[in-house]
């Protein structure tokens, strides 16, 4: 069973404050779904334009979420090692309230993640230079399935949600954008 003890400590809100001091001008905060799709398309086109020069990487996801609907997402870690699906609870992903996630991970098509892997779930607002204020608890409930409790997005705006999978010293990350209007 993989678990991270619930920790009620408050994280430093100054995480990385020196890194992104003047970033707000670059923020595309509150982007609409249409703009997000256009950005994804442009990135995809650029990636395709590079075909023949090396491996093509699938475009990154950027989609707008609502507060109350169940949210589901599927993606692959950056190195292609794992397929990750996550699903929120019935209340979706609210701002300023704790929420939970169910995470399912495959290490090969149809093969659940091995028990000895370490799974971490986290989120951050890169343009603000901070992450979440709480460390979520992650419990393995079945082969390749994890219950994540204690997620909290303490402000509205664009969050980046990460799922890290580590085995034998190799960690890969899957990442999604979650925008809370």
């Amino acid at each position: 069973m993989t678990s991270t003890p619930m920790t009620a400590r408050i994280r430093s809100a100054l995480l990385g404050i020196g890194v992104l001091a003047a970033c707000c001008g670059g923020c595309d905060r509150g982007g609409t779904q249409r703009e997000s799709e256009a950005a994804s398309e442009a990135t995809s086109e650029a990636a395709q334009a590079k075909a023949g020069e090396g491996p093509v990487r699938p475009p990154f996801e950027t989609e707008t979420e609502t507060e109350t609907a169940i949210v589901e997402r599927t993606g692959t870690t950056a190195g292609g090692g794992y397929l990750v699906r996550w699903r929120s609870g019935p209340d979706g992903i609210p701002a300023l309230e704790a929420f939970s996630l169910e995470v399912e991970i495959e290490q090969a098509p149809g093969v659940p993640l091995a028990e000895d892997a370490v799974v971490l779930v986290d989120a951050a607002m890169p343009h603000h230079g901070h992450g979440m204020n709480f460390v979520p608890e992650i419990v393995r409930v079945a082969p390749g399935r994890y219950a994540v409790e204690g997620m909290l997005f303490h402000m509205r705006g664009r969050w980046e949600l990460f799922v890290d999978v580590e085995r034998d010293g190799l960690l890969e990350r899957a990442q999604w954008t979650v925008e809370l209007p």
């Binding site: 292609g80 090969a108 230079g129």
Partner: protein, 639 residues
Amino acid sequence: MAAIHDGGGDLLIADPAAGLVGIVRDGALVGTLPEPRGVSGWRPDSIGRGVDGTVLVGDAGAGRIDRFGAALESPGDRSGNRHGSSAGEWRWIESVDLGTVRGPVSPIAVGETRRGVLFVDGAADRVFEVSSGGREGDSRERRELDGDGIPGGWGRPTDLVVAADGRIFVTDADRHRVLRFDAEGRFLGAFGERGPFPGLFQDPVGLDLAGDRLYVSDRLNHRISIFDLEGRSRGQWGMHAVIPREGEGRIHYPVDVAIAPDAGAAAVVEPFERRVQLFDAADQSDAGPGTVAELPSLDGVTSHFGAGVAADGDLVVLWEPETAAVVVFDWRGEVPIHVSSFGGPGTSADRFGRVTAAAVDDASQRIALADPGLDRLAFVDLDRNPEAGLRLDPFMARTAGTVSFERIEAQIAALAGRSDTPPIEPVDLAWSGDGGLLLLEKRLGRVVSLAPMPSVREGHLPLPSEVTAVWGPGGTGGGAFVEPIAMSLSPEGDAVAVLDAGGPAGPARVAVLSLDGIPRGGFELPRMLHSLDEHPIAPGGLAWTETGFAISDRLSDRLMLFDDSGVLRHEVGTTGTADGELWSPQGLAIRDDGTVVVVDTGNHRVQGFSADDASWRVVFSLGRASTRQRPPGPPGANE
């Protein structure tokens, strides 16, 4: 460099570049310690107090520790006194037997208890004690200081002191703390963590003790922090130098501090500024030395970049040790534009401890970073549209993953048929094509070739996580680089050049090999720059250009251009702060337009020079860039 007060009023400064330990009295150099008997190319770089008033001096490159003591009064005694000090005050006593040795040792800090000599082994990131006593001729027992119970294990020990009651204190720079041990060498506890506030550290690398006070040279906080022996903060002094060369009591990257026994005087060692600053008791307060005049205005390009740089296509990648951040420039136009910063201090996959090398691949938009502070390689993908307009984008960088050094070390050991291998310390990285990565490693003195595992899912870029080969200057068959500094791929991408400083025996050389480690040639660098009164070369960086090789000299502040066979074609740069002048230039990269990108570390900026004729092209840092070279002005005008 390192320094101690000898307890008799003198300050002893170990200077490896000069190859001597200087004796400073009343602010003036009055002599040197004699060289150890039978040694040539001595490069003392650590110094500590031995028992009975003796002094221990370490030479990390040679793996030796020597003991010095007061000269005997007998006029007939000449043992070890080849050069002698002023008035014959010091004599060489012995080379300390470091006991049963397994592999090379690299003493970077020394001290002594009643049980024996203590030293920090920079090659193993451990502290060892060599027992004294026993019969003459017996090999001394060497044991490791007990690291059981140290949270997170040993990080990067850099200095140590022994208190009067035998307790031992060790700075752990990568974990930003000081470790405490009892007189038997058992771990007691640690104090400090990373941060800028009083009581916190950012790269604490030097340590001294006066009475019941510990003095820590806190390198990236640019100050001296004071603690009692229980680890309680008792204050700090020193103000960060606003501009390079400022001096006047402002501190800039201190690596050691030497306190007089009565704390009435202090010396702060700042090799970044090539100086040692002396303070008296009045200076050692939070208010700093004397009265502070109006701060000089900052009018120039300044960013606290690390020593390395990576470039490919339009991308240029650097890092800032003080913020543990990586910065990305897009250089599609006349000057590079800052488009993203990411990272910051921490331990999660998207944070950094101590970055020492980077490589960037424009085609895949992937960055590789070596982070010995967190014992791993980190990989970051850029979500970047090369055709879109330029803007600062905080979302551009997306962590792809990490590969632990432990994994790499286990694979290296397996390849060599051994059970373990020393902890690796990468000094350079290079993408080798097809997602592979070359890692230039300092302790093994070899290049480690990493390949990605076959992709489980199509259309993705697996991380280079599998060691496929390890090779030195002689190929995979054996041999090791003595002091590897940097590597660079050929313009065609089908070969790699490795810059080896050559150690104390020298000379420095460039070795050329294929991407799978087959030697193809190379050349030796001249030992001296004849244009500078035989100044020895201290190579800092390497770039393979269309016309040969560019090499930076971090001590003479030059950029040198060699042809393919090692003939020097051009040298550029003089010591200074104006455009075109350099101060401790280190990492190099080459752009497709033939610009040699030089990290001008001592001037907190990057400059570009032509690979053809070494003419100046550009200067830039965060927030500012210029292709108009400003002429040297009055002192301070260009700072």
